[in-house]
């Protein structure tokens, strides 16, 4: 095993882990240990699940070099469908959740199909679906908060497994499966190949259209999972659900080391980055800072991460160019 190479490839993940550990320790120390109480730890971990899963939802689309702007709107609608089906139509919980999950998946599939058919960039297509879905979400819940669903759902959301919130375990399992998908399955590799170099992928006998469709559909399914987590951990669903997901969904993978240009995923990096963002949130609550501080900090971190990785890419490129034909 080549350790130097290992550290070089994992530089982002490693530094993020260090930042997370140090940040966490600092918060514990300055709060006099309050963060370590059962209740605040539970809160920290529970609300980490959604950022992780929506980060994954964005990551799979970034992997093909595109963006999914509709992550928030898809999640909002999916959660709203679940809530309305349970509260107004009295569907069993499992059926309502399944229908909500499938709708998010279907919207993802529609995004993918539209990108493939129209040959437009995912940015434009998902901008369109986002707008449509926001209108739909409003029609579903109007200005109300839907919360009259069976008590067993919040119970499910509060379950613990070996001291960890069940929903966080779901997020972790999803991440592990996704990591396996990209490294160990033919389809996952082909999706990444499309993102890495679509001409080379085509010449290697890969269908780029199929890759794009799969990435967007998968993104939809992940949003569906995020919606299930949301509805089982929040007291009610209203039209604001999903409204703050978009920045968060980009922040985690980008800070975590995923390239905007496509061809890479960084599941572990995205998970840790979601944790770091969550720490900023906690710090705000701890020191009663203005909420705008969080947006500001996350924004600055995203910009500097992107600038740093671009600078790193260029300097390694230059080092390489020195050895090669200038053409």
């Amino acid at each position: 095993m080549n350790f130097k190479l290992f550290f070089k490839h994992r530089a982002t993940e490693l530094s993020l882990t260090i930042i997370f550990v140090v940040g966490f320790a600092l918060l514990v120390a300055t709060s006099g240990g309050v963060l370590l109480t059962r209740q605040s730890l539970q809160g920290f971990l529970t609300y980490l699940a959604v950022p992780i899963v929506i980060g994954m939802a964005q990551m799979v689309v970034l992997a093909i070099g595109q963006m999914n702007l509709a992550v928030g709107a898809m999640g909002g609608v999916s959660a709203a469908i679940m809530a309305v089906l349970m509260a107004d139509h009295h569907l069993p919980i499992w059926l309502a959740l399944l229908i909500g999950f499938l709708s998010a998946t279907a919207v993802g599939a529609i995004n993918g199909a539209l990108v493939v058919i129209t040959q437009l960039n995912g940015f434009i297509i998902t901008l369109g679906t986002m707008t449509i879905l926001l209108g739909f979400q409003y029609r579903l819940v109007r200005t109300f908060t839907v919360d009259s669903y069976p008590k067993s759902l919040p119970d499910f959301g509060n379950k613990n497994i070996l001291g960890f919130p069940l929903i966080l375990v779901i997020a972790f399992v999803t991440s592990v499966l996704l990591s396996l998908f990209f490294s160990r399955t033919v389809t996952g590799r082909q999706v990444l190949a499309t993102g890495g170099n679509h001409i080379a992928a085509r010449l290697s006998g890969i269908s780029n259209g199929r890759s794009v469709f799969i990435a967007h559909t998968l993104s939809g399914s992940l949003v569906g999972i995020a919606a299930i987590i949301t509805i089982s951990s929040l007291p009610g669903i209203n039209r604001s659900i999903g409204g703050d997901w978009m920045l968060a969904s980009f922040a985690a993978p980008i800070i975590g080391g995923v390239l905007m240009a496509g061809g890479t995923v960084a599941v572990f990096g995205t998970v840790v980055a979601a944790g770091v963002v969550r720490l900023v949130d906690i710090a705000r609550a701890q020191y009663s800072l203005d909420p705008s501080i969080v947006s500001l900090t996350v924004g600055i971190v995203v910009l500097s991460t992107v600038a740093l990785s671009e600078w790193r890419r260029r300097s390694s490129q230059r080092a390489l160019e020195g050895k090669k034909d200038a053409k």
Partner: protein, 501 residues
């Protein structure tokens, strides 16, 4: 004082390649100078040095007596040098007049003077005898029209030194006639003109003096063209070099069913009546100038462009290959592309994943999971076989040197174990050592029974490794030469096929 540009002992090397070696060239006002040479002889590099795109390693450049290399293309423009590059340098979304005046748009009070701009563009186009709506966007033009806009862009600067890199490669005969009239006018008004072309008939029609480059050296230096016959110029271009290289004739049995046969194939891209056969274990060369339609033919066979009539047979069976996917997985034909870094490599993938991408379905274990063990085995095998220098298989392809990247992209096709491999320009931009090892590899592959179509613009390379050479010109096959691997005989035969005297 009359216009003069003097290049003296200019050398330029890229790592591993000596692009130019003490090249001399003199352009004089009132004269058209031909710059000739095979692909890769160094013509474009020389032009890029004159115009400040590249920096020379040594030597000097004198413009009208002043000795100075230009630091940038802008400086060269200010010194009165205009260039029409081989590759397009137009902005597709801009109008024709915006493009023509792009270097130096006329302004009044800091605002672009639209009527002056129109006047300037109109004047430049009028000299060319080219009438078109100046407001039309360049992206809507034909290739030939773009070429003319490019030339107008050079004219509008009122440069006294004009470098034309293959200006007639993509324009019609009628347009060429007009262009030559313009060149003559410019010459009569005292401009110095450099004319690069592969079309010798044109060179003899318009040029006064000639410089021939071969492998980065000036073989003929600023000689009067009338002193040389066309055949002598061809000899100077191809040379009689590399005779010391060991070449062996290979035995290819052509009394069996061809693995691939094309009968009267016509494509949507304009290929006409293409017929040839490829036999098991044969290396079939496809030679021609850039733009002769060789890669396009290969891509048509692979299903990337439409074949409009004729038959493609694999092992005697007529087939219709619709996608590259079918070509690879059903018909077992691989295609090693020319732009290997841009089209053949996944820079964000480790070497291991780059090589396995064509064979993923063959290295699965239970539940459709890729077996890392099998993946490592297959990638190590080809890393070793091609002598790819890596720290380990997990090194990212983007961090390898150019030559090793080339090898990685070839490796994935070897791993795919195809029956037919089409290799496009295998050694463009690789150094001498890698080149030789590529040649050995190709011959070795053919010896194991793989049938290879080799597309190359490098004549010595072709003569060294091909068993037969198909010569292509203007989307037609013009000759099918049995390669006896005798350089003078074969190079003459090939050049005669390309430039019929």
């Amino acid at each position: 004082m009359s216009t003069e540009l003097r290049v003296e002992k200019v050398s330029k090397s890229f790592p591993g390649v000596n692009a130019l070696n003490e090249v001399n060239l003199t352009l004089k006002g009132g004269s058209v100078h031909a710059l000739l040479g095979e692909n890769g002889a160094g013509k474009s590099t020389l032009i890029k040095i004159i115009t400040g795109v590249y920096r020379a390693d040594s030597g000097s450049l004198k413009t009208n007596g002043e000795e100075k290399f230009f630091e940038s293309p802008v400086e060269a423009t200010h010194a009165g040098i205009a260039v029409v590059h081989q590759e397009r340098n137009l902005i597709p979304e801009f109008s024709i007049e915006e493009n023509i005046t792009l270097h130096n748009p006329p302004t009044r009070l800091g605002i672009v003077d639209q009527s002056e701009r129109t006047r300037m563009a109109k004047e430049a186009l009028q000299t060319l005898g080219f009438e078109i709506d100046l407001q039309e966007r360049v992206k809507n033009l034909s290739v030939a029209q773009m070429q003319l806009v490019e030339i107008a862009k050079a004219l509008v600067t009122h440069a006294k030194i004009i470098l034309l890199d293959e200006p007639t490669a993509s324009i019609t005969n009628a347009e060429t006639v007009k262009l030559f009239k313009v060149i003559k006018n410019l010459k009569d008004s005292g401009s110095a003109i450099l004319f690069v072309s592969h079309k010798l008939e044109e060179v003899y029609e318009i040029c006064d003096t000639v410089t021939v480059l071969r492998d980065g050296e000036s073989i003929l230096q600023s000689q009067p063209l009338e002193n040389y016959k066309q055949s002598e110029v061809v000899d100077a271009m191809v040379g009689r070099h590399l005779t010391d290289r060991k070449v062996e004739l290979r035995e290819v049995n052509r009394n069996v069913m061809p693995v691939l046969e094309l009968v009267d194939v016509q494509t949507a891209l304009g290929h006409e009546k293409i017929s040839f056969s490829l036999y098991p274990g044969e290396i079939l060369g496809m030679y021609g100038l850039v733009g002769a339609g060789r890669s396009e033919l290969a891509r048509s066979v692979l299903g990337l462009h439409k074949i409009t009539s004729g038959e493609v047979k694999l092992n005697g069976q007529v087939v219709h290959i619709k996608t590259l996917r079918d070509a690879l997985h059903i018909h077992h034909i691989g295609y090693v592309t020319e732009n290997r870094k841009e089209e053949g490599l996944f820079l964000t993938f480790p070497v291991r994943k780059n090589i396995s991408i064509t064979v993923l379905s063959r290295i699965l274990q239970k539940l459709g999971i890729i077996s890392f063990q099998k993946e490592d085995a297959i990638s190590s095998k080809y890393v070793e076989r091609l002598g790819i220098k890596v720290v380990d298989n997990n090194q990212l392809a983007g961090t390898l040197s150019g030559g090793n990247q080339q090898k990685v992209s070839v490796a994935k096709w070897l791993a795919a174990e195809t029956n037919i491999l089409i290799i496009d320009e295998p050694t463009v931009g690789v150094d001498v050592r890698t080149k030789a090892s590529f040649h050995e590899l190709i011959i070795e592959l053919a010896n194991t029974g793989l049938s290879i179509i080799l597309i190359s613009s490098d004549l010595p390379e072709m003569i060294t490794i091909a068993d037969r050479i198909l010569v292509m010109r203007d989307y037609e096959l013009v000759d099918n030469i049995h390669n006896i691997k005798d350089y003078p005989t074969i190079s003459r035969a090939v050049m005669t096929a390309i430039h019929p005297v």
